[in-house]
């Protein structure tokens, strides 16, 4: 189903939108964030093609991507040059695919993965990339936040190709089943002698992914050390939650950097966000103020976090958190 939208106001060549979505994956499964990006892609009108690149597991990932409704075709490019999905190699594949198919839009997740790669494409195509959109108004007009989410900007791109990263929390996830796209292998000669992927140190956890969890419990400087985070992990396990942290806690070394929620960390919007020992600096709020319910526990009743929390408990967290663990256990 193709819907052509001619926008005479824009100096583009009046062709239909056609979108390429760079799929984020770990060699086994499609990253949930991609499902949200596909929803954004489908708002543009026109066919949506998914691109899976990597050095292993791509066929498996492509098979999963082909089941996402709204995806018309899945392109797959697998080679050892794409080890670690290093940006120099991935961008070479995208540029090759773009040269052959001339998409009007190229989208990726507003994750570190997507943000690392897409602007490089922008440079090669002489296009201004658009980071972290929270809304699609039309083929050329998008909404995004600036100043740590304290202002919302609507911008119109005058470039012939739009290169866009998408904030997951602003779009519904497309279903992961129900589609039946065709898969096509793409052979691209990628030669990259300028960079090399060495290794990834991924935090392993049985808990839900922070970026997509329904419940997140975050700790701040109030926790005082990394050991004290144990009680947050215990509470998280009782509630089926993920654990996050403020920048202060990460900087102090209490927890690894991938737990950071905020303007320059992860932007999340879970159903329930419990901020423990977090004061609520502007930069932290940027990362969680779109959560459906916010709970704050802090012994300082004047902490800014209480200005956005739905339920605030002014109490010593070292007393309150164990009480919560016990209270929930009794439920």
């Amino acid at each position: 189903m193709l819907r052509c939208v001619r926008k005479l106001a824009t100096p583009s060549i009046g062709r239909c939108a056609s979108t390429l979505v760079l799929v984020e994956h770990n060699g086994a499964a499609v990253n949930p964030a991609t499902l949200h990006t596909i929803t954004a892609a489908n708002k543009l009108g026109g066919p949506v093609h998914a691109l899976v690149v990597g050095d292993s597991g791509c066929q498996e990932v492509a098979a999963a991507a082909s089941q996402i409704p709204g995806v018309e075709k899945v392109l797959v490019s697998e080679s050892s040059a794409l080890k670690g999905q290093i940006s120099e190699a991935v961008s070479a594949v995208i540029l090759d695919v773009q040269a052959k198919n001339n998409y009007s839009h190229i989208l990726a997740n507003g994750t570190v993965f997507g943000k690392n790669i897409l602007p490089r494409i922008g440079a090669k195509l002489d296009v201004a990339p658009i980071s972290d959109i929270i809304g699609v108004q039309s083929e050329d007009t998008f909404v995004r936040t600036i100043y740590a989410g304290n202002a919302i900007q609507t911008i119109q791109s005058i470039d012939p190709v739009k290169i866009v990263t998408v904030r997951s929390t602003a779009f519904e996830a497309a279903p992961s089943e129900g589609g039946s796209a065709a898969t096509e292998t793409v052979e691209v000669d990628v030669s990259n002698d300028k960079s090399e992927f060495i290794e990834a140190k991924i935090s392993k956890s049985d808990r839900p992914e922070l970026a997509s969890a329904n419940i997140v419990i975050s700790g701040g400087r109030g926790l005082k050390n990394g050991e004290n985070f144990e009680m947050l992990y215990t509470l998280a396990d009782k509630m089926g939650a993920a654990v996050g942290a403020s920048r202060a806690a990460v900087d102090a070394g209490y927890v690894p950097s991938d737990l950071q929620v905020g303007q320059t960390g992860k932007m999340i919007a879970p159903d329930l966000y419990i901020a423990v020992g977090i004061s609520g600096a502007i930069q932290h709020l940027a990362g969680m103020k779109d959560s459906k319910t916010i709970v704050a526990i802090n012994k300082d009743g004047e902490a800014p976090i209480f200005q956005v929390s739905d339920y605030g408990l002014v109490d010593d967290l070292f007393k309150a958190v164990p009480e919560m663990i016990e209270g929930i256990e009794q439920q």
Partner: protein
């Protein structure tokens, strides 16, 4: 080993602690009379270059900034932190909305002129929050990139970079010349001491215009409007944990 020439970019932005206000014309935010500072990530970038010089890995640090007249203050701060000389690309009237692609093109020209071995920029500017300039510059130059860097180690023309990624950390290596973006935990930036601020006054800042450089900086993204975000009202305080649990149960958050 004679040492690397490092080009560092810095941007003058509204200070991170300031509560910004949307302009009445809804085309931007109020900047007049508002406190400005060096973009925090750029402080990390400058600091890293200075540490490289102290370790004798770098031999010269050039700091560049594109901005209005007051960007000179930002460059002076970098010089006071230890950079050797500065370049101020002073924006003319009508060039105020300088977007990442244009910045990258300006820096590409500076790279042509200064021939650095390494360019270090901040990961993102806290006003625009784009996180693009490093990647754009690397793409324009066809140099390898290392974004969100939290550790940089140089050895024989190769930079080993630890990056902060969504799931944890990643190590890559890039051959110089390369472009790198500094993340918060790359280092802890030093404060410019008064003696160093005084010394920095003797350091040279070369001034040039966009026209001098010969780059088209026309914005590609036209700002249609800027508005306040939806206001989140404060809720209630609860007296104790049992009430809190009740409330969470009511909302269906507890199984």
């Amino acid at each position: 080993m004679s040492g690397l020439r490092v080009l560092v970019g810095c941007k003058r932005v509204i200070d991170y602690a300031v509560k910004i206000r949307v302009r009445p014309d809804h085309l931007g935010v109020v900047t007049d009379g508002v406190k400005h500072s060096m973009n925090p990530f750029d402080e990390n970038a400058v600091e890293e270059a200075v540490r490289m010089k102290q370790k004798k890995v770098a031999k010269e640090i050039i700091v560049a900034s594109c901005g209005p007249t007051q960007s000179q203050e930002t460059i002076r701060t970098a010089l006071a932190m230890g950079a050797d000389r500065g370049i101020h690309v002073e924006l003319a009237k009508g060039e105020e909305d300088l977007q990442p692609l244009a910045v990258a093109k300006v820096f590409a020209k500076l790279v042509e002129k200064e021939k650095p071995d390494l360019v270090i920029l901040g990961k993102q500017a806290i006003d625009d929050d784009s996180n693009q300039t490093t990647q754009l510059l690397a793409g324009l130059l066809d140099w390898p990139q290392g974004t969100m860097a939290s550790v940089l180690e140089h050895s024989d023309g190769v930079l080993k970079i630890t990056r902060e990624i969504d799931g944890g950390l990643e190590d890559i290596s890039v051959k110089l010349p390369a472009v790198v973006s500094a993340d918060l935990r790359l280092n802890e930036p030093r404060y410019a001491t008064l003696p160093n601020i005084m010394k920095a006054k003797k350091k040279k800042i070369e001034k040039m215009s966009v026209a001098d450089i010969g780059v088209d900086v026309t914005p590609r993204l036209k700002v249609q409007n800027v508005v306040d975000p939806p206001v989140r009202e404060a809720g209630d305080k609860v007296p104790d944990v049992s009430v809190l649990i009740e409330k969470m149960k009511e909302k269906g958050h507890l199984k």
